[in-house]
């Protein structure tokens, strides 16, 4: 009887392990294909030159610069608002109806499909606010999309600051604002940055929100102001893979661009994951 039950357990645990293995395999297969077919395209020239010959030769420098400038705008916009929102929710607010309402808003914002952000960015930033297709419009659209991630991460970081820190500061006569500024924020700062990097890495890889707000097919010169439109890595992959002038002949460029994009994103993620692991050790120790 017990043997039978244990056998059932064995089979099921095996199935669970299979599920885990499938996830690992999926990641490994995708990464394998991108790396094995993309690395040949990578060279100093590929990273430092604009595309030439109808984007069938040359590099992807404008796309890298475009993605970086979109991300800069995103973070400059979303980080202050996100951190301030988190400070309010975690340090000031109680369990009021308003707070539940705000949280509901944030949760729903997190669930809005990326293409809907794109539609909104087009209707509001590009047309109504007359920013045109630009780094600014694209960055702000991405910023609103990233906001819930940054708020979540910042709240997490603020929560991890031990209560006695605050109590000690308040007991010494500091106001709540002084406590937050001088005690809570410095402790939470690395956590906030870690979470923001994770949010930013998601923004860097998004295509749908910038298709109509920030990215264009081809503009080989680097942007000179935030009102310029740019090329961006994810959009470049989409364009080369579906609308390029010679899709089969530029396969290596597509894989190469994908490789650069996932290296950038995985790099940001690994940095954040390692930093978080270090912080946890520090907090425990």
């Amino acid at each position: 009887m017990i043997k039978k039950r244990l056998r059932a357990q064995k089979i099921c645990f095996f199935l669970l392990k299979v599920a885990v293995a499938i996830n690992g395999a999926a990641l490994a297969i995708i990464v394998y294909f991108i790396v094995s077919r993309g690395w040949r395209a990578i060279s100093w020239e590929f990273l430092s030159k604009p595309p030439t010959d109808s984007m069938t030769m040359g590099g992807i420098l404008p796309c890298i610069v475009g993605t970086v400038s979109l991300c800069m705008t995103t973070i400059l916009f979303a980080l202050p608002i996100g951190v301030a929102s988190a400070i309010y929710l975690n340090e000031y607010a109680g369990q009021t109806k308003l707070v539940r309402f705000i949280r509901l808003g944030i949760n729903n914002l997190a669930g809005v499909p990326s293409i809907v952000f794109g539609l909104f960015g087009l209707a509001f930033f590009v047309i109504v606010l007359d920013m045109g297709v630009s780094i600014l419009a694209g960055g702000l659209t991405l910023g609103i999309m990233t906001l819930p991630v940054i708020i979540g991460a910042s709240e997490e970081a603020l929560k991890s600051v031990p209560k006695p820190y605050r109590e000690a500061s308040l007991a010494m006569g500091a106001t709540q604002w002084q406590t937050i500024r001088k005690v809570v924020l410095p402790v939470a700062f690395p956590g906030i940055i870690t979470g923001s990097i994770l949010g930013l890495s998601r923004a860097a890889g998004e295509t749908a929100p910038i298709m109509y707000t920030g990215a264009v097919f081809f503009t080989p010169d680097l942007p000179s102001s935030i009102f310029d439109e740019v090329m961006a890595l994810p959009y470049h992959i989409y364009v080369l893979a579906t609308a390029g002038t010679n899709i089969e002949a530029t396969r290596h460029l597509q894989y190469g661009t994908a490789l650069v994009l996932i290296s950038l994103i995985f790099g940001m993620n690994l940095f954040a994951i390692i930093m978080r692991a270090k912080m946890r050790k520090k907090l425990k120790g």
């Binding site: 030439t52 010959d53 109808s54 984007m55 610069v65 970086v68 400038s69 800069m72 400059l76 045109g132 297709v133 924020l185 410095p186 700062f189 940055i193 264009v216 097919f217 081809f218 503009t219 080989p220 010169d221 680097l222 942007p223 000179s224 102001s225 310029d228 439109e229 364009v239 579906t242 609308a243 390029g244 002038t245 010679n246 899709i247 089969e248």
Partner: protein, 274 residues
């Protein structure tokens, strides 16, 4: 913490300085048809090499988008692989805009199939029935039996518009047709799908796909110019009013000998034989 913030701020400031150090005299935005795109792109590259102070940015999106961009004023040049529609003219006029067309090249739209396909010749009536979904199997048009996979373009593409007008005679393409966003997309899909049929601009023909004769005529530069190939069209660049400055220079460049050579290099048919 302060050191963190400071270093980030310096980094950001530095990047903005680097970015803003390049100032350009003229900016030219070109949008529209993916068929005109290779011409515009080649011309833009060489034009910018000769005029380093002009900055050109280029996006695709189809003819409707190109003309829309002219009407909205979001681009200086709108590419289109069809002439402007009456609807668009009236929209432009209500906004006080007068689009000016330049026919910069000719193009033939050639039906294509997978190289493994044995069919070599179709009539426009057969093409229409295939795209209506009435003919579903290759054996009905003299090929080896197998399901026909109909591949078409997104409904706002200019190539689709011409196909709709000249082959479909304004009847609707069957809903089960796969849609791809570009000529290149059709080439790729047809090359990878044994039973597929699609249609592309002359410039996109390559050895991965097989061109089909229409009513017995092969699509070439010659048959297009003499009018015997039935599915052909002009390629246009539209400007908002009569062009000035860089826009005029660029249009003139396309009509120059060099520009028209680029047209041929991009696979389309020049309008002037120099």
């Amino acid at each position: 913490m302060n050191r963190w913030i400071k270093s980030i701020l310096i980094l950001v400031f530095g990047l903005f300085c680097v970015a803003s150090s390049q100032v350009f005299a003229g900016e030219l935005v070109i949008k529209g048809s993916t068929t005109v795109l290779p011409i515009a792109q080649m011309a833009a590259e060489t034009f910018m090499a000769e005029n380093p102070d002009v900055k050109i940015s280029l996006s695709g999106g189809g003819s409707g988008n190109g003309i829309k961009a002219i009407i909205d004023g979001t681009a200086q040049i709108g590419n289109a692989s069809r002439f402007i529609k009456q609807k668009e003219v009236s929209l432009a006029v209500t906004k006080g805009v007068y689009p000016v067309p330049f026919r910069i090249a000719l193009d033939a739209i050639v039906p294509v199939v997978n190289p493994k396909n044995s069919v070599t010749d179709l009539t426009t009536a057969q093409l229409k029935d295939i795209y209506l979904g009435k003919i579903k199997d290759w054996k009905d048009v003299g090929g080896t039996p197998g399901k026909i996979v109909v591949i078409s373009r997104d409904s706002s593409s200019g190539t689709f518009g011409v196909w709709q007008e000249l082959v479909m005679l304004e009847d609707r393409v069957v809903p089960s047709a796969l849609t791809v966003p570009s000529n290149g997309g059709i080439v790729q899909a047809v090359a990878n799908t044994p039973g597929a049929i699609g249609y592309v601009g002359l410039g996109y023909l390559n050895k991965e796909i097989k061109a089909i004769k229409v009513n017995g005529v092969t699509g070439t530069e010659e048959t297009t110019l003499n009018g015997s190939f039935p599915i052909s069209r002009g390629l246009f660049m539209f400007t908002q009013g009569w062009p000035e400055g860089e826009t005029m220079d660029f249009i003139n460049y396309i009509f120059s000998k060099k520009g028209q050579e680029l047209v041929r290099k991009a696979g389309s048919i020049p309008v002037f034989g120099f």
